[in-house]
Symmetry: C2
Subunit: 236 residues, 2 copies
Amino acid sequence: MAKNVTLREAWSGLADCLNCSLRATVLFAGLEEKDFSLIHDPIDQYRLQPGTTLYRAGDTGEYLFTVRVGALKLMQYLPDGSQRIVRLARTTDVIGLEALLESNYQHDAVVLQPTEVCRFPARVVRELGQQNPKLHRELMTRWQRALSEADAWLTELSTGSARQRVARLLLRLVRDPLNSESELFGREDIGAMLGITTETASRTIADFKRRGLLVEAASNAFLVDIPNLRRIAEGS
Amino acid sequence: MAKNVTLREAWSGLADCLNCSLRATVLFAGLEEKDFSLIHDPIDQYRLQPGTTLYRAGDTGEYLFTVRVGALKLMQYLPDGSQRIVRLARTTDVIGLEALLESNYQHDAVVLQPTEVCRFPARVVRELGQQNPKLHRELMTRWQRALSEADAWLTELSTGSARQRVARLLLRLVRDPLNSESELFGREDIGAMLGITTETASRTIADFKRRGLLVEAASNAFLVDIPNLRRIAEGS
DNA sequence: CGAGGCGTTGAATGGCCTCAACGATGGTGG
DNA sequence: CCACCATCGTTGAGGCCATTCAACGCCTCG
C-alpha cells in the first residue's frame, strides 16, 4: 500500500505539545516543561481523509497516535475473510499502544471521518514513561480505558436483538447529551460493529427514522431521541 | 455476600514468591531477591471451589490476583439483567488489574473449576512497578494480553453461526495440542460466552459428539478433533 | 426416596440473513 | 455541462437458523 506516500502528503506540521489545545486531556497531560525538552524526536501531525489506512494489522508498531479530531475504526479479520470492527477511536483517544511493547499492530486502523492525529515515536513514550510517574499512570489508564471499551462492545453491541444493538450504538455515539446529535457512519460499518448484516442495519435505522426516533439533521448526522432509544436498548 | 468469610475459609497459606513454581511465567518474573525484601504486606494464597465469587463488579479494587490453577469467568451485566462472560482467566493469568488504578472492579469474577489464586495488594504492585522497569513492562504486557483476549472474544466468539462459535471456543480451550483435551463448562456458561442460548449450546455440542468431533473422556472433558473443528470454525 | 439442577430433545415461531432489484447521490470523463 | 457509472441506502421476498417454551431422563444430594 502507498501508506508512506499518503502519510507524507497528509503531514500538517510539527506538533507543539506545550501549547496543545487538548493538553489537559491528552496523553502528555502530566508532563511539565522540562520533560518536553527531553523529546528530541519529532512529533508530527497529520490530516487524514476518510478511507485512509493509518496502519495495518501486523505492521511493525513504531508509533502511537492521539486522535485530535475525527474518528477511526480498529478492525480485525477472521480466517474466513469476514471482518469485525473492534473499537472506535475518537477525540483524545490513543491508538497503537501495543507499539510500546515492540509488538506489531493488532488491528487495521482506518479513518472514518476527516481526522487529525498526532504521531509519537513509541521509543519516546517508552523512555518518558519510565521516568515520569504521571505519564506511566496515564498509560495504564489508557490501557484500562481501551479494555473497558472492548468489554462494552461485547456486552452492549454484540448482545441482544439487532434493534437493541443499533439503539445502544446510537446512544453511545452521542457526545453532547444536550443537542444529542450523533454522527453516523456507512451502513456496512455499522453492521461490522454490531455483528449484523448491512441490510439489517439499514432496515433498523430506516425504521427508527420513520418512528421519529432519529431526525436527520445533515447527511448521516442525526438528532437522537435519547429516552425512547434507551427504552429500546434495555427492554425490547 | 459472605465473601470475606468465604475467602477466610479458602485461605491456604502465605505465598512463597521466591520459590514459586510458576515464577518464570508469572507477574513477578522480573523481580530479584532484593525486590522481594521490599514486600512487607502479606501475599496470600487461596483455594476456591466452583461457584465462589472472588470479587464483584463495583467492589473497591484493593487486590490483584494471579491464577495458579483452575479457571474463573469474568462477567458483565446489562441493564436488562442479561449477562455475558467477557473473558476467562486460567493458569498464569492476572485479573483485577484495574485495582492498580484505584478503580472499582469491572466484572464479577466467578470460579468455574477448583482453583488456586495468589492475592497481591494493589499498593504493593503499584509501588514495585514504579521502581522496577521489568515489572512495569510486565504489567503493560498483561494489560495488552487482556486486550487481545477481549478482541479475540469479539471477533472469534461473537461472530458467525453458533456452530462456528462453539467450534472456535473448543479449539481455544485446548491447552495441549498433543492430547488435545479440552475441559468444558456448563452449557449455560458456554451460551453466555458465545452470545447464544443454553439450548443452542447444548444442541451444538451434542451434535458434535454424535459426529465424533468430540469424545467424552471424563465428565465434561473432551478429546477434540482439531482439524475437523478447525474446518467448521473457518468455513461453515 | 423425593427434589432440584442440568443436559438433552422436540415443535413451532420469528428474526435475521440471503439474494435481488431499484432509486439517489456524487464523481468522472466526454 | 451533462451523460454515465459506481457506490450506497433502501426495500422486498423467501428461507434458514436460532430462539422460545416445553417436556423428559439422569444425576447428585439431602
